[in-house]
């Protein structure tokens, strides 16, 4: 048994029983979709339409439909790519790192967070493909024998590292997520009434019965996956940062990028998790599972990572000055005071200043403020990538080639479109999959304020009753010690 | 590389061409105009295209065939010297009114695909201007006329010839043959044949970028300059590296003593010193060692001050301190380099040029850095004569007019008047290669072939001659103008033979003409002379009255200078050439269209910002062009490029920019390319495409 600190708020409030947990969470899957969900899906689908139109224009006429030019070869495309990948990281982080640290509170959010990871990575993966001049040849990036003879891929190129990193990251997150889902699918299967439901959830659950042997292997697997995903998630954003760090462009060629990008990723990721969780808990009435305590904890993480990012920003400037490299210094001065000063300013405000509000308890525990904060951070992190990519490129070595970037409608369309794609996927997930990991939540039901379980028996929820750390000597043979309430009833 | 040894071709060429046309009774239509317009159906089917290709190959390479070429299209028996995918080079010559270049035509499978400088040429020495580089595209210009026509109705050569002959015979009053400068002896002879046959025909040459002031000031000749021998160069607004008279030739001369090397410890590396007094920042000015920005109206005063400083004849007043200081400095250096210095002026004002000529005289540069005895021929236009023509045209004294590659309606300051008068003329013939602003107003269209389809010869400078030879058979049913003139003159001789005969005098009969001729055809250039300068009638302006004239040219108000762009030039055939439109201006880096360049102070004072469209007005006419803030532009002046604003040149060049020729002054003494203008903001904006 694990020691539980007496000051901790309950992880799951409302004195839920195992059965209540099953009820509450399966309810969303089994009940007819509610109107708020339909509305949300509608909006997402419209944005998805925008996405398809923009992609059609891009593919049919060419990248010229975007605002790029000879000097600025990447702008919104890669900005969005890095932004989405960054967001994705929080999911893995919550499910893997927090698992390793035995942070029990992760249980009620990790499922949704992992789903978010997967959908975010899908959105991210759109951009490296779409931004290609000839996406239909994207398979060239894989080391395949081809008609041109044995012309393989260039393993020196950070972009190729990306290919491997992103695909590994995506598939690993996927199996991690799915393995976690299997027991919950079994639960739904065993409750399912409809034929189709029975059939499909039976397929999904792969014949899971919850036998002790399976559980023990299951735990080993998730532990190892967690153990491996942790360095993986760090490596992914490190490699993404190397797209820039290994180049010669002043403002990109910066050794601090890997840690700085990872921190940024966690930062933006948690912001996105918060955004989603706050919506989900309202839409699906899961206030008891995603409590203020969760929100406060995530706020804290956001604040810490936000500060790390802030430090990184300042370090960059220091290094630029310290290096005494003309181009480097100009790149950073131009960032802050040049034609794109506004982007830099908004990045600074959103990412460094606003998160500091979390120091105030009131902010930390306020739903509304947290929601606004999380949105602001998401915006800020988008600007961070924009600043890094565009302001570095638009004025590099040769003044003769300096240029400005202005996005076209298609640029905006593709970006907004991926947001639509993301939410469509997320809403579908939330409707047909258990948004909260039932098995894990049940496992932590017992841990709460006063050290000791509060499980109140199967038939009646509520009320924290006398604790049972070990079975009491039997009052009457045959009557389970774990059910004093029933016992009393029987006496009536 | 191989140059062709093209002789055998020569005799059977015309007959061959005739048969060739016989073989394609209806000539290959090639798609022109936008997709979706009526003539879409006229797109050449692939096989016809191949036929044409095969044919052109045969024609162009016939040259080298010992065996007579059969009209079989596929290479059943391949002509020698022509291997598919191997390029041949043919020597030829590029000259369009402005710059002269001896070129090599890179011919691939029977079609010219590139022009390169001809290193054999003592004039351009392998150099090639941007305009000449791009000229190969003009050959395939879809806007070219495809056949002869009378009042828009397609006709055969013979029909038109007959009609024209009767027309000329029955013409009442003068018939003017208007052309730009012609430096081709044989062409002149062909025209002479025409004027000989019809006494009332008079040949009028005018230059869009006129140098008549310079010619007048030098006793009727255009001096040949040699910048390579000048240690000190003073240029009063002459953009001799970019557009003035013969830029390629001058550039090569100029750099010979700009190149430095320090490997020989004994001799110190030296360079020429280059002073530039100019209004707009020109290509030449940007290369100068000392550049002074002055108003066009000050040019005279500066020339005078320079003359006085050089001759020591009193000081002049009315110059800014800086300018005065620079002039003195320049004069000192000039004096230290007598006979090894050069003063040039871009002005078309005879008075100014007279002073400059006198200065060169005083410095003893005549015979060293500039030559009057072996003059240049690339400018022969006479503005006064042209002005007189316009007046006659208006008065109705002209009974007929023939335009030979001349487009005065567009590029003459009084184009409007010509446009109005032209329809009233009884007989109007255009030999222009397209239905341009002038040609479209004429009754008869006898389009000239492209120079890459024609035989011709040139003499840019006395003693230096070069040839042009066809690198491809005419793509359309056009005929080269010289041949047309001969037909009208009643001769049936082929122009090739006509030309070759003319060269007998040049090369001399002795030592076997044929061998010498073959060499010329191979090299493309030769020494010898055939052109004669027209005896000078006007009187040479003395320094005294030049001084007095200049004294009275003080001006107030904003002065505008009109200049040529290195790419578009005078807006002739270049105007429909996308390469040249997209070639960034060397200084402003602007492409696609002209603009009014203003100094920063003026822009700030007037609250103009880049791209604001201004209405520029002078002589009661006005154009609208966007503002470009140009460092180096003289205070109180603006500058606008000519050559834009074409309306009938083709889909590339039409309505790109505005026609600035209307702002030029057509004075009695000649066309002046600067004027007092008024500028007002229209409120519209038009972004300038700068790279």
């Amino acid at each position: 048994m694990q020691h539980v600190s007496p000051v901790r708020e309950p992880l799951v409030t409302g004195g839920k029983t195992y059965h209540d947990v099953t009820q509450d969470i399966c309810y969303q899957v089994e009940a007819a979709p509610n109107i708020r969900w339909m509305g949300a899906l509608g909006v997402s689908l419209i944005l998805l339409g925008v996405f398809f139109y923009s992609v059609y224009r891009t593919l049919w006429y060419g990248i010229g439909e975007w605002g790029l030019n000879k000097t600025i070869g990447w702008a919104w495309d890669i900005t969005n790519f890095v932004w989405w990948v960054g967001i994705g990281h929080a999911g893995t982080l919550i499910s893997a790192v927090l698992l390793l640290f035995r942070q029990k509170w992760r249980s009620s959010i990790n499922r949704a967070a992992e789903a978010m990871t997967i959908f975010a990575v899908i959105c991210a993966a759109m951009f490296p493909v779409l931004h290609m001049g000839r996406p239909w040849l994207a398979f060239y990036v894989f080391p395949l024998q081809n008609t041109l003879g044995s012309l393989w891929a260039n393993f020196n190129s950070p972009l190729l590292w990306d290919v491997f990193a992103i695909s590994t990251y995506f598939t690993v997150s996927l199996v991690f997520w799915y393995t976690g889902l299997v027991p919950d699918f079994a639960t739904i299967r065993d409750r399912a009434k409809g034929k189709i439901a029975k059939f499909s959830y039976s397929m999904l659950s792969m014949g899971w019965t919850g036998s002790a042997k399976h559980w023990s292997r299951y735990e080993t697997v998730s532990l190892i996956l967690a153990g491996v995903s942790t360095p993986l998630v760090l490596s992914v954003h490190t490699i993404v940062s190397m797209d820039f760090a290994t180049s010669v462009v002043p403002g990109w060629h910066t050794t601090i990028f890997p840690p700085y990008f990872v921190a940024g990723a966690i930062f933006s990721g948690f912001a996105m998790v918060l955004t989603l969780m706050l919506i989900t808990r309202v839409v699906f009435k899961l206030e008891d599972y995603i409590t203020l305590e969760h929100i406060a904890l995530m706020n804290k993480i956001m604040m810490v990572t936000g500060s790390i990012v802030g430090v990184a920003y300042i370090t960059e400037f220091f290094i630029a000055w310290y290096s005494q490299v003309e181009y480097e210094q100009y790149a950073f001065i131009n960032r802050a005071t040049g034609p794109y000063w506004w982007a830099y300013a908004s990045m600074m405000t959103c990412n460094v200043i606003t998160p500091q509000l979390v120091w105030f308890r009131r902010v930390r525990y306020s739903i509304v403020l947290t929601f606004i904060l999380s949105i602001i951070v998401n915006i800020g992190m988008w600007f961070e990538r924009f600043v890094i990519i565009v302001t570095s490129l638009h004025r590099d070595y040769l003044p003769s080639s300096w240029a400005m970037f202005s996005p076209t409608r298609i640029d905006v369309g593709v970006y907004v479109g991926t947001i639509g794609l993301f939410f469509t996927l997320f809403l579908l997930f939330a409707k047909f999959f258990p948004v909260i990991n039932m098995a894990e939540v049940k496992a932590i039901l017992k841990y709460t304020v006063n050290d000791g379980p509060t499980y109140g028996g199967a038939n009646e929820g509520g009320g924290r009753l006398t604790s049972h750390t070990s079975p009491a000597p039997y009052a009457t043979p045959g009557v389970p010690a774990s059910a004093p309430v029933n016992y009393d009833k029987q006496n009536d | 590389m191989k140059y062709w040894k093209g002789i055998e071709e020569l005799d059977n060429s015309p007959e061959f061409v005739k048969n060739a046309f016989a073989e394609f009774p209806d000539f290959l239509p090639v798609k022109e105009g936008r997709a979706g317009t009526a003539d879409d159906a006229s797109v050449a089917p692939r096989r016809d295209f191949l036929k044409l290709m095969g044919f052109s190959v045969a024609a162009a390479t016939l040259a080298a065939c010992e065996t007579p070429v059969h009209k079989a299209i596929p290479y059943l028996n391949k002509p020698e010297e022509v291997d598919p995918t191997i390029s041949n080079f043919y020597a030829s010559t590029y000259f369009t009114g402005s710059d002269y270049n001896a070129v090599l035509v890179k011919n691939r499978d029977g079609r010219p695909i590139k022009l390169e400088g001809n290193p054999e040429s003592p004039v351009t020495r392998g150099g090639l201007s941007a305009r000449a580089q791009a000229a190969v595209l003009n050959l395939y210009d879809g806007a070219r006329l495809r056949q002869f026509a009378i009042k828009g109705k397609p006709v055969e050569f013979e029909q038109l010839d007959a009609a024209v002959r009767t027309g000329l015979a029955s013409a009442t009053g003068k018939v003017a043959l208007v052309s730009p400068t012609i430096i081709s002896p044989s062409t002149k002879r062909a025209i002479a044949a025409l004027t000989g046959r019809y006494r009332n025909v008079e040949h009028i040459m005018y230059d869009v970028n006129s140098a008549s002031g310079l010619i007048q000031a030098n006793g009727g000749v255009l001096p040949a300059y040699d910048f390579s021998r000048a240690n000190v160069i003073v240029s009063l607004g002459a953009d001799f590296l970019g557009t003035w008279i013969s830029p390629v030739e001058y550039s090569r001369q100029y750099v010979t003593n700009r190149k430095v090397r320090a490997d020989n410890a004994a001799v110190k590396p030296t360079m020429s010193r280059h002073f530039q007094f100019e209004t707009a920042l020109s290509l030449t000015g940007s290369n100068a060692d000392v550049r002074v920005a002055v108003k066009p109206s000050e040019m005279g005063a500066i020339a005078l001050a320079l003359y006085n400083a050089v001759t020591g004849a009193g000081a002049t007043t009315g110059l800014s301190a800086l300018a005065q200081k620079q002039v003195t400095q320049a004069a000192t250096e000039l004096r230290n380099n007598r006979g090894a210095s050069l003063v040039v002026s871009g002005s078309n004002d005879p008075a100014v040029q007279a002073i400059v000529a006198a200065t060169n005289q005083a410095l003893g540069n005549v015979g060293t850095t500039l030559s009057l005895s072996a003059p240049s021929f690339v400018r022969q236009g006479d503005d006064a004569r042209m002005t007189q023509f316009v007046n006659e045209l208006k008065s109705g004294a002209i009974g007929g007019v023939i335009f030979y590659n001349a487009n005065p309606v567009y590029d003459h300051p009084r184009g409007e008047e010509i446009k109005a008068a032209l329809p009233k003329v009884a007989l109007s013939i255009s030999l222009n290669d397209r239905l341009d602003e002038t040609g479209s107003l004429c009754q008869y269209q006898a389009p000239d072939s492209h120079w890459l389809e024609s035989w011709n010869d040139y003499e840019p400078k006395r003693g230096f001659m070069s040839l042009a030879q066809p690198a491809i058979t005419p793509l359309f049913k056009t005929r080269q103008a010289q041949e047309t003139f001969l037909r009208w003159a009643g001769s049936n001789e082929s122009y090739y033979n006509f030309l070759k005969d003319g060269w007998r005098t040049v090369l001399g009969a002795n030592g076997g003409f044929q061998a010498a001729w073959d060499k010329v055809v191979h090299d493309g250039v030769a020494n010898g002379s055939a052109l004669t300068t027209t005896p000078f009638t006007g009187q040479v302006i003395s320094v005294a009255d030049a001084t007095s004239r200049i004294g009275s040219t003080a001006k107030t108000g904003i002065e505008a200078v009109l200049y040529e762009k290195v790419g578009i030039g005078q807006g002739g055939v270049e105007a429909n050439n996308p390469f040249l439109h997209e070639l960034p201006d060397p200084i402003s880096k602007a492409t696609w269209g002209n603009y009014v360049a203003v100094p920063r102070k003026m822009a700030e004072a007037q609250k103009w910002s880049q791209g604001d469209v201004l209405k520029v007005s002078a002589n009661g006419k006005s154009i609208e062009v966007p503002v470009l803030v140009q460092p180096g532009q003289a205070e109180g002046t603006v500058s606008i490029a000519v050559g834009y604003g074409r309306t009938k040149t083709g889909k590339v060049g039409d309505s790109v920019g505005a026609n600035a020729f209307v702002l030029a002054q057509s004075t009695a003494s000649g066309t002046l390319y600067h004027n007092i203008v008024t500028l007002e903001k229209t409120g519209a904006t038009n972004p300038i495409a700068q790279t």
């Binding site: 099953t22 260039n154 695909s167 899971w208 559980w215 190892i224 490596s235 049972h468 043979p477 | -």
Partner: protein
């Protein structure tokens, strides 16, 4: 208070050899701790526990049931090593031997540049190898219908299953034994093709 007779039969009698039908006594528990104790006692009573089903992993149940530690970690390590080896071979062969090209003047075999891909492939092989193994050895694969002894075991009940012989002779004794150990109910269940 267990009788050797029961153990004798339950342990000795080979069951379900000639028919695919199996019979089970299912002890239903409400709480994991009670179950844990029950497991100890039942095994102490010499009864062979067929399997335990629970809605979530119970810590310590492996020891109680005597399930030996899984060897998946070793497998995972092995897969990882394969991935690493493959990655290095691929990169060195492709850029170093199959078609060496000059890329930015770098050596053909630029090992530092190969690190990221090598790492990623190691992870890739580790995870997928291990997960595939997990599903295979646990016989987990998509099926149309999943036979479950007690559907509540995926909801809120902890089920202890004990296999019986053809005529379920040990049932009464087992019922008593389980009830004594805190089972809220004890059911008899037959399963074909289990």
């Amino acid at each position: 208070m267990t009788s050797p007779a029961i153990t004798a039969t339950s342990v000795a009698t080979p069951v379900a050899t000639h028919s695919s039908t199996k019979r089970f006594a299912l002890g239903v528990f409400e709480d994991e701790d009670v179950l844990l104790h029950a497991v100890d006692n039942v095994r102490a009573a010499g009864v062979k526990i067929y399997e335990v089903f629970s809605p979530y992993p119970i810590h310590g149940i492996d020891d109680a049931l005597g399930i030996e530690r899984s060897r998946l970690p070793i497998a995972a390590f092995f897969y990882g090593m394969c991935g690493l080896a493959f990655a290095l071979w691929m990169q060195i062969y492709m850029l170093g031997f199959d078609w060496p090209m000059i890329i930015g003047g770098k050596p053909h075999i630029a090992l530092p540049a190969f690190i990221p891909v090598s790492f990623e492939l190691t992870v890739f092989f580790t995870c997928h190898g291990m997960v595939i193994t997990f599903y295979t050895i646990s016989k987990l694969y998509p099926r149309f219908k999943t036979p479950v002894l007690d559907v509540r075991s995926t909801d809120d009940k902890f089920i202890m299953a004990i296999e019986l012989d053809e005529n379920s002779s040990q049932m009464p004794k087992l019922t008593q034994l389980l009830r004594e150990n805190g089972a809220s109910e004890v059911n008899h269940k037959e399963m074909t093709k289990f």
